[in-house]
């Protein structure tokens, strides 16, 4: 559940953005930047909550850049996402070396674990669902919220219409650009929240490239979950489970049968990435993307 938190938040961001027709491979960069700014703000203000807020705002700002590039300036959505990913690597690298490296001796700590009164006492289910750190709760709420917003509100209907057939949506008077901007920016906020998980909930520190490709794994989870919030969540649980399983094998010290060699830890580390490849290849035939996903819309 813990490992699944940033994945799910990013995947939910992916779902919203792609439902409106904008491919978002910048999730990785957004998470990395937010992990960074979240940490810096928490460090400077000694307030973890301000750090989380800063992380979310960072996601919003960067996704606004992605939106401006890909929606208004017609930059290829994948190129624009790629730009943001390197920009995030570069900026966090420069600033990390600039002042964090010396400063990171005593970090601001990590977010507290909340026991929900009564509910956490329920056997089995209680500890799984009701003893977590705040961002994990936020993730659980976000799943329900995104599911509701996308499929039960007018806003959701408009967003999906724009992602399927922007021209038709435009014809009936929906502002395609506005809908896409809102979707991409929401997506950035979610990815930003996911990013703060790494620096403020998991280890209480910022490390260069600490997101390690999870933004892309989240995209694969989104595809596997058929562009649906709940589906994406289940897929993220699967990925997080694979990661946890790989960690466990190492702790158990499993050996390869017959020859008796220990399994090299690097192979265990490959597991989530290989699983992503298999999932993307396997799910592709059956999952259907929003029809206008990836297509820029130029108003006539």
């Amino acid at each position: 559940m813990n490992e699944a938190t940033p994945l799910t938040l990013a995947a939910l961001g992916g779902v919203i953005s792609e439902r409106s027709g904008v491919v978002n491979i910048a999730l990785e960069g957004m998470m990395l930047m937010s992990a960074f700014t979240g940490y810096v703000v928490a460090f400077q203000t000694h307030n973890l909550w301000l750090g989380v807020l800063a992380g979310v705002l960072t996601g919003v700002v960067i996704s606004a850049l992605h939106a401006a590039l890909s929606i208004s300036l017609m930059v290829d959505q994948i190129v624009s996402g790629f730009v943001i990913n390197i920009l995030a690597l570069g900026i966090t690298g420069v600033f990390f070396k600039g002042f964090l490296q010396e400063a990171s001796v005593a970090g601001p700590g990590v977010l507290p674990t909340w026991h929900i009164p009564l509910l956490s006492k329920i056997p089995v289910v209680g500890p799984i669902l009701f003893i977590h750190q705040p961002i994990t709760y936020a993730m659980l709420i976000a799943i329900v919220l995104v599911q509701f917003l996308l499929f039960r509100t007018i806003w959701g209907l408009r967003t999906r219409a724009v992602g399927e057939h922007p021209l038709a949506a435009d014809t009936v008077g929906i502002n395609v650009y506005l809908v896409r901007y809102v979707a991409v920016i929401l997506s950035g906020g979610l990815a930003g929240l996911g990013g703060t998980y790494f620096s403020l909930q998991q280890i209480g520190q910022f490390l260069p490239n600490m997101t390690g490709g999870r933004g892309f794994i989240a995209l694969a989870a989104m595809i596997f979950g058929k562009w649906k919030p709940l589906g994406a969540f289940y897929a993220c649980l699967l990925f997080a489970g694979a990661e946890a399983f790989a960690g466990q094998i190492q702790i158990w010290g499993w050996h390869i049968p017959v020859v008796g060699w220990p399994i090299p830890f690097q192979f265990l580390g490959m597991l989530p990435y290989l699983l992503t490849i298999v999932v993307v290849a396997g799910a592709m035939g059956r999952a259907v993307a929003p029809a206008a996903d990836g297509k820029p819309y130029r108003k006539a």
Binding site: F82, V94, V280, A289
Partner: protein, 361 residues
């Protein structure tokens, strides 16, 4: 200015303005991080051109960018985004170093040739995987190539840290040194400038010929223009995708092997410093034109070799190059921005068209 001269002006000015803008943005980032941007960029310039042996080192750093940039550009021409050049570079280096240190007593020409071919093969195979996945299952190459990068890093890390390729006589984790016969000859004594640069200069016309004068090149460009049209014309899109990815990876693998044979002569676990990612900026800056790859690769060679000195001299992270890179790509890839600046009636053609064709991501 009439439309034609404006378009020519934009073709030259576009990359120049992009690079200038890149430095402005990077300068801002440096200033915000608490360092002096002018001093830092002067150190960058010193490290790239002025210091003793700086210029030959810049040329050494240019070489892998030529191969990698050509590889990525080839993918772009078919509408494929090969973000996996970094991983293919690693695997190519791995194959190259293996042939380099495991064979002995061969004539130098043969040994070098074998090791370079091994590098091409390694990169080819590693890139063929996403090629097959895309052609057969429609798995988007952006995700699969990135994931394979991580797999390649882990594989190399295993083989060279605690696996069968470790040099047991060395205290640092690395492969054994390659046989002297497999080393690429040095062009100018007293420098690190090796014969790989000549190979790079040969690769440019070869890739141009492949793209512009052969059937496979025609297929690549047609698929890049419109997969639907290509299919209607009887071109096998699946085979073209596979071939493009393979050749693109082969070039990246060649870059890796060339680096091992020409510069390091062994392979440590962390080998590249993001060459494969910079190559994407190189390819975009050259607008996927093989001839333009030389100045673009030279620019990034200078940035890369200069940034090492800058990091050493001013404590500003070499990562600042990524900021330059991102800004450059942003400007190059935003034709509308340029249409507006130069008052062109038509925007310059976008350098790549990826997501719009089959945007299943």
């Amino acid at each position: 200015m009439n439309q034609r001269s404006r378009r020519i002006a934009s073709a030259v000015l576009l990359p120049v303005i992009s690079v200038v803008a890149g430095f402005v943005v990077a300068g801002l980032a440096v200033a915000l991080s608490g360092a002096d941007p002018l001093q830092s960029f002067y150190a960058l310039f010193q490290g790239a051109f002025i210091n003793p042996r700086a210029f030959p080192d810049t040329l050494v750093a240019t070489t892998p960018y030529i191969f990698l940039g050509l590889g990525v550009a080839l993918g772009f021409r078919a509408g494929l985004f090969n973000i996996g050049a970094e991983g293919q570079f690693y695997i190519g280096a791995l194959f190259g170093v293996f042939i380099g240190y495991s064979l002995h007593g061969l004539p130098a020409v043969l040994h070098i040739l074998l090791a370079l071919l091994a590098g091409i093969l390694g990169g080819f195979l590693w890139a063929a995987v996403p090629g097959i996945l895309k052609a057969r299952f429609g798995a988007h190459e952006v995700i699969t190539t990135i994931m394979l990068n991580y797999v390649a890093f882990a594989l190399v890390n295993f083989l060279i840290n605690n696996g069968p390729m470790v040099d047991k006589t060395s205290s640092a984790p690395r492969t054994p040194y390659i046989d002297p016969a497999a080393q690429l000859p040095i062009l100018v004594s007293g420098t690190r400038l090796h014969a790989g640069l000549i190979l790079g200069l040969i690769a440019i016309p070869v890739v141009w010929f492949l793209l512009d004068r052969t059937t496979i090149g025609f297929r690549i460009r047609t698929v890049g223009f419109s997969a639907t049209a290509a299919r209607a014309a009887g071109i096998s899109v699946a085979w073209t995708i596979l071939a493009t990815m393979g050749i693109s990876g082969g070039l990246a693998g060649l870059a890796g092997a060339d680096e091992v044979l020409g510069v390091s002569h062994y392979m440590p676990p962390s080998f590249s410093t993001g060459y494969g990612f910079d190559a994407i900026a190189v390819a975009l800056l050259a607008r996927s034109n093989p001839w333009a790859m030389l100045p673009a690769a030279f620019l990034f060679g200078a940035l890369s070799s200069g940034s090492r000195f800058m990091q050493f001299q001013t404590q500003v992270s070499a990562d600042v190059i990524s900021v330059v890179e991102a800004t450059v790509i942003m400007f190059i890839a935003a034709p509308v921005l340029f249409q507006w600046i130069f008052r062109l009636r038509r925007a310059p053609a976008p350098p790549v068209k990826l997501a719009s064709e089959e945007g299943v991501l």
